[in-house]
């Protein structure tokens, strides 16, 4: 399961699948609140085994859809 499809499922909006990779996940973009971020990271960990919360101390991976996809792909 791809990071994008997990994201689409967590926010409940299939439109996310077609957004550009530069779309910010937090303010100025999807505007995910912190509770949704926690759910997203848990879903990614379950589906891919990549624990972003543990590996990315500064949570830079949460900048955009693309940075998160890349982070999961390289870990």
């Amino acid at each position: 399961m791809s990071v994008r499809s997990i994201l689409a499922e967590v926010v409940g909006d299939p439109g996310v699948l077609d957004l550009p990779a530069e779309t910010p996940l937090l303010s100025g973009g999807l505007g995910l609140d912190s509770v949704t971020v926690v759910r997203l990271l848990a879903a990614i960990r379950t589906a891919t085994g990549v624990d972003v919360a543990d590996l990315d101390l500064d949570l830079d991976a949460l900048a955009t859809i693309g940075t998160l996809t890349d982070f999961v792909a390289t870990h």
Binding site: S27, V35, V38, A53
Partner: protein
């Protein structure tokens, strides 16, 4: 069970009404004894909520029935009732030890008793008797009970305003006219602060007990009302200016309160000639929200030891508060 019960959480099928609503096609008439208990609790300022394995559609029917408007933070769905109780405590911002749970199913009661021993668990036929216990506030309605209901309604109004607000999160916060006070804690604050430190999980850096000694607190208010004390951190100490704990209530953390408290701490440390401020933080999934707050306030990770990382803010330049909030400092 020692403290007062603040919220009574009800199962529905077989507890508030006979039978199974989904199989009946319409809501069954509630038991008169259940309605009488709900009335008594309302009169005492004790909140009532729902933990039901029914789908949300049944909740919508409840809100069109004679029971409409009674239940706060109701939880519908197939998950465990213990999890529903945790969510209710979180949403209403009360401790689990102030919850009572009523269910006709002995298995559900046993599971909650085992998982959450601090919750008072009752079978429906025990409720009438329990209402005479001192824990159920057989006495005058306290100001605290009324303010709890107020503060819950306030959050509901804020939530629905946010849902109808087209702008960005920052524009919404600006529209809310947020006002904060960052100040040193007084002796009278202590009990509330210890409780705040214990209850918070998402916006909590280490999960440590609040140490004795001086602390910095955050008070928050906006156009919807006054939240009072919502955040605490002990005054940083040592040559490295380390902060042992940062704790912010979840209702305030969701409104950007973490960077405000951290900036207050940083300004205090800088005024006392600190060069940098260090915040050790546990690396769990659940407290990712406070790490997002650290990031917003300009902190970056500088080291890691096991499941804890240390975040640092350089104090060469004076940290300034976010511009969507009006902050007053009282040192």
């Amino acid at each position: 069970m020692s403290g007062p019960v603040k919220v009574v959480v009800w199962d529905l099928d077989g507890t508030v009404w006979p039978g199974v609503a989904l199989e009946s096609g319409a809501l069954p008439e509630p038991y008169p004894s259940a309605v009488a208990a709900l009335d008594t609790l309302a009169g005492r300022g004790i909140l009532v909520s729902v933990a039901s394995r029914n789908p949300a559609e049944i909740g919508a029917l409840v809100e069109r029935s004679a029971l409409a408007g009674r239940f706060v933070a109701p939880q519908y769905g197939w998950g465990r009732k213990a999890d529903a109780l945790r969510r209710i405590a979180d949403e209403i911002d009360v401790g689990l030890d102030t919850l009572a749970f009523v269910d006709d199913d002995p298995l559900e009661r046993a599971d909650v008793e085992r998982t959450l021993p601090e919750v008072t668990v009752l079978a429906p036929h025990e409720v009438a008797g329990a209402l005479d216990w001192p824990e159920f506030g057989a006495g005058p309605v306290t100001a605290a009970a009324l303010s709890r209901l107020d503060s819950y309604r306030q959050r509901e109004r804020r939530r629905s305003a946010r849902a109808g607000f087209a702008g960005s999160e920052e524009e919404f916060l600006r529209w809310c006219e947020l006002r904060a006070t960052v100040r040193t804690a007084t002796a009278e604050d202590r009990d509330r602060l210890v409780e705040l430190a214990r209850r918070t999980t998402q916006y909590n850096s280490t999960g440590a007990e609040l140490p004795d000694g001086p602390a910095v607190v955050l008070e928050l208010a906006d156009r919807f009302g006054d939240d009072g004390l919502v955040g605490v951190a002990p005054v940083p100490h040592g040559p490295e200016w380390t902060v042992d704990l940062v704790a912010v209530s979840c209702r305030a953390g969701g409104r950007g309160a973490v960077p405000v408290l951290l900036t207050g701490l940083a300004r205090l440390a800088r005024s006392q000639d600190a060069r940098r401020l260090l915040v050790p933080c546990r690396l769990t999934e659940r407290n990712v929200p406070i790490r997002l707050g650290l990031k917003q306030a300009g902190f970056t990770a500088v080291s890691r030891d096991g499941d804890t990382a240390v975040y640092e803010l350089d104090l060469a330049a004076a940290p300034s508060y976010p511009d969507w909030i009006d902050v007053r400092e009282q040192w």
